[in-house]
Symmetry: C2
Subunit: 357 residues, 2 copies
């Protein structure tokens, strides 16, 4: 049976990638050994790491002077690594845009190290919009934002111009659209949406920003450690890096960011088109800030819930229950989700309208 | 061709585990989805995490009052998590036994946070022995040791009695022999030797030791965060936890620690027996401190190197080049390595002796 996997993350990965990954767990690179039982210092695995880094650089057109790292600990560990590396030890400060649950957590970690403040906060309307016209203080060591809010289905369409380095958590929309890396000081993302399985984190950092805090950073939290050792300071998460590499290669082979951003726009258009057209449903995020990755919507009449749930389950749809903070439904449409899956959901929504009696 | 995988880590895993893991990457738990594309909050994955934790508790007979965690970042991140959680913020101190490269790195991280000192150090003879009769100061917040030194092939046979909590890095021999967990305050280990693939870390900690430092710990570095959320504070390294669970189940099915410790003793006996008997070779570690996991040895006559290397390669042996800090050879004999592989290496050593001319 075809399952239409709308999971919010970990989420759908390309079938071809899963097949190759499965094969590599049995036998890898003609070694008669599994990928996961060879040394990370072997020529075979170094090739994987090098290629993964190269693909990130190619796909996002990472400019010179930036390093690309594969680390562990997800965005959650980045929440503390960022201020450790960028906030001055004495008199440091940082400006945070609080657009959701994860942004709040990021701010909390920075506040443990210095004067980090929320310069904007959309919690007044349950994070259903992206604050505009922020005033970013010139005195801040950096400005931090979250490009896509998985839980609330909002996405920054235009990044603010900033007098200080911009740090962005792109966990849930990296590789989904073109971004001008040069405008960012640091980008980080957990792998488990558009890049690969859980267990790896990608970091893209402007090298010039590092080493100016006067802080004695724990070695593992210091980006310079990992830059110097090319993400091999200690044993990397071999399998997660390998599957990320395969997924990025899959993306490149199909036309890269240009191809996928058009496909993602098409899927989001189909989805929001139906949410807006169908009188039984309503979207939860402000239209101008709607995420192309996660569409959050409600049934206007809760009494239809049981019937709708039966219908989408029968159609092979999986993972569209909304997060408890929003309720209703959330259709996550990451890179690997085919437009046919969105069409299937749209058809079920239409069918509910037609048959509701 | 059968490869005899003596890799020092990531290292050999049971064939049956690799087959199941490969299958799960294609399809998992009857969901028509891959293990790596489902939510970590799904019933299917929560079952995996719960079982993995339960197996650690069963196999090591973890007493009540201890928590078992699956984290990321390997032993290297533990090097800073341990002092963050156990060393008093004001006037804290810790005593380290420096028995190798990793122990040195652990000490370095603790020194960033307080008065950590090496109370013993075997670098005077290139870490070829384990210091005995250490005097552990009663004023230390904890004592830290490394149970097995992968690079130098030494292993603590009897842990010192300590007036303060004992913290042990067991990365390279956990689950290889019986340990009395009650005698430790905290045990940690990267997965990638006896437990599974790279990308997960297991921590076993006496809950009572936590929360007494007066330190504001970054959330992700605070063991209490992960205890409270049962290792699901953020997205866990799904694949690495799953394969660890399979490997621990494999161990349990075969007879657990009792079975494997006998098997490991037998393999080590065969290996060191030949190193000592064969006039062409010599071991590098002091006999009483020899590791059952990693046997380091040298060819007495370097001119035989080319020939020996050809011979073991022809026999399908892989991964026995020694670490550059020791040179020569290192046969890593982790849990999943069958005795037949050791026999194959011993036969090659005998053959070299017989034919050296």
């Amino acid at each position: 049976m075809t399952v239409h996997n709308f999971s919010a993350g970990p989420c759908i990965l390309p079938k071809e990638v899963l097949q190759q990954a499965s094969q590599a767990v049995q036998e890898f690179d003609g070694l008669d050994l599994s990928l996961i039982e060879i040394s990370h210092r072997s020529k075979s695995f170094i090739g994987v790491m090098d290629r993964a880094i190269e693909l990130v650089k190619e796909l996002l057109e990472v400019p010179k002077g930036y390093s690309v790292l594969f680390l562990q600990g997800g965005a959650s560990l980045e929440f503390t690594m960022v201020p450790h590396n960028l906030m001055k030890a004495k008199g440091g400060s940082a400006a945070y845009s609080v657009t959701g649950t994860w942004a709040k957590k990021a701010l909390k970690e920075a506040q443990k190290l210095g004067a980090a403040t929320a310069i904007s906060d959309s919690s007044d309307r349950n994070f259903c919009y992206i604050p505009k016209d922020e005033s970013i203080p010139e005195t801040a060591d950096y400005y931090h934002c979250t490009s896509n809010n998985t839980i609330f289905g909002t996405q920054i369409k235009e990044f603010p111009s900033s007098p200080v380095p911009v740090v962005c958590d792109m966990s849930s929309d990296i590789f989904s659209r073109k971004v001008d890396v040069e405008k960012f000081g640091l980008i980080y993302a957990g792998a488990q949406k558009n890049m690969g399985p859980a267990g790896a984190t990608v970091v893209i950092v402007n090298d010039e920003l590092l080493g100016h805090t006067g802080r004695d950073i724990p070695t593992m939290l210091d980006y310079r450690t990992h830059i110097e050792k090319e993400s091999m300071f200690h044993t990397p998460p071999v399998f997660a890096v390998y599957v990320s590499m395969l997924t990025l290669q899959w993306l490149k082979d199909r036309g890269g960011i240009q191809w996928v951003s058009e496909r993602n726009a098409k899927k989001a258009g189909m989805m929001y088109g139906e949410i807006d057209r169908n009188p039984l449903f309503e979207g939860t995020a402000d239209r101008e800030d709607r995420s192309t990755m996660n569409a959050c919507f409600l049934l206007k009449d809760d009494s239809l819930k049981e019937r709708f749930d039966e219908m989408w389950k029968a159609a092979g749809i999986s993972g569209i229950n909304g997060h408890r903070s929003v309720g209703g439904y959330r259709a996550s449409m990451y890179n690997a989700l085919p437009p046919e899956s969105v069409q299937t959901l749209v058809d079920v929504m239409k069918e509910l309208e037609r048959t509701k009696g």
